[in-house]
Amino acid sequence: MTSSKTNGNLPDLDLGWMDQHGPWDTHAEPGKYGFTLADIQIGEYGQVPEESNNQTGRPRGSKPRANSMRLGGYTVRTKSDIWLENASFLYEEALQRQWSSATDVPWESIKPLPDDVEQAQCQMATFLTEVEFVAGDVPARWISSTTPDYFEARQVLLAQVMDESRHMDVFRKRALANGGGLMRATGATAGFVGGIDLSRDFTEMSSRLHISGEGAVLTIFRMGELMAYNDAEKTIYRLCAQDEARHVAFGVMHLRYMSQNEPDRREEIHSYLDEAEGSMLTDAANPAGRLTQTSESLCILLGGGSDKFDEGFRKLVAIRRRQLQEYRKRVISAGFGDRFDNGRSRLNELMAQAAA
């Protein structure tokens, strides 16, 4: 391609911009999954720098603009600070597995419930609306702090924000759908969850949000099918669990990348996990923990009424143990399983406390 100052009958044009471009003659083609981010990782366009000095919002692979001002004030400019190996895969998966709370939930299956069960369901819906605000807000802040050179990870987080937005709306809808309403806020956004937003570093945030916080909520979503009283609630919990599992996968894969590429930061990450384990059963962030407002409502839902509280509590203990077991296996998968062998983890102690 060449630029020209004159062209037949056209007026004189400044076509100098035509020569200003990144690598040319690219021919990306759709693959068997459609035209995905993975299909455009070609040449320089697919090269992710270990460090980025891109402070101007320049798309990766485009030609830099001279004398441009700083735009983002990006603080995340080191690849290992945010990277994971399967970011583009998770992003495409997130796009292609979206659902609508308006049309994919069989709302007509919700029928009147006993008052105590409806109140408990509304309490859980209130709690989940509350925590999903945090799960959306916090990653959103980090997106805007991350250099565009790491756009794949940013886009997974953008998709997460969309997911959390849907979770907020679907639980709000559930609370208002069956004669109840929103209950008293639980304060779950204080304590450990509030602390997520105080993270000074993306990995600190991710270990708190994706591994500890969302891991615990994932178990609750899965268990949601046990405390669902109709197909609508079953569908809500199942579809939210799918989304949440994707967010947890982000955290596991990021910690795995960090563990392999920044061994000097392993001790620091262990300290985040220490902190998470310390509040796993006591903090308001975990509805299966000891906060009565949520744990009592869970027992009523799981048992089938306040008169079957003991049966519900037995199931709640099973949920707590499952949360802890799944947390353990995810931490091992992320590359930090040594804490379970060297006595650092408090997990055995927590297992013993699960029935308290």
Binding site: E92, R97, D104, E225, A249, E326
Partner: protein, 152 residues
């Protein structure tokens, strides 16, 4: 529903796969791209079901050792498999206690297992749960007969 397919059998899985791959409704509503290899253990018989992109790319008979390589496998008593499929057939999809996730939660050891113990891979059962559910829900479109299993 001209043909009848016996459960469990490779023919039955292939018929379900055909329905799953050719029915549009199984691509939306929280389903969609799905990449995983799933094992099924049914009364001593082992099958492998592979999902790639938007479809089920293959089903085949396998042996116990091959379960080492799957992301997760589903294993439950034959009577429960049968009850689940009868529930699906009666309602066109699983309801109540017969959704895969509820079955998993209802049993102390669950129905989704792995030999590798890697939670990232085992979480695929949750991450792709709606797809797994749609796959078995597709069985309502075929006529299923059940192999008589004598309890040992």
């Amino acid at each position: 529903m001209a043909s009848e397919f016996t459960f469990p059998s490779l023919d039955w899985l292939q018929a379900v796969r055909e329905v799953f791959n050719t029915t549009d409704m199984y691509r939306g509503a929280g389903s969609g791209r799905c990449d995983c290899v799933v094992g099924l253990k049914i009364e001593g018989a082992v099958f492998i079901v592979e999902f790639e992109g938007f479809g089920c790319t293959g089903v085949r008979q396998a042996n116990e050792a091959e379960l080492e390589n799957v992301d997760f496998y589903l294993d439950m008593p034959y009577e429960l498999w049968k009850s689940m499929l009868e529930n699906i057939s009666a309602n066109n999809h699983a309801i109540g206690e017969f959704t895969l996730n509820t079955l998993d939660l209802g049993m102390e050891q669950g129905i989704a297992h792995s030999k590798h113990e890697d939670q990232y891979r085992q979480d695929l059962f949750v991450r792709y749960n709606q797809t797994m559910q749609f796959f078995f829900d597709a069985s309502h479109r075929i006529s299923t007969t059940f192999e008589e299993i004598v309890a040992s």
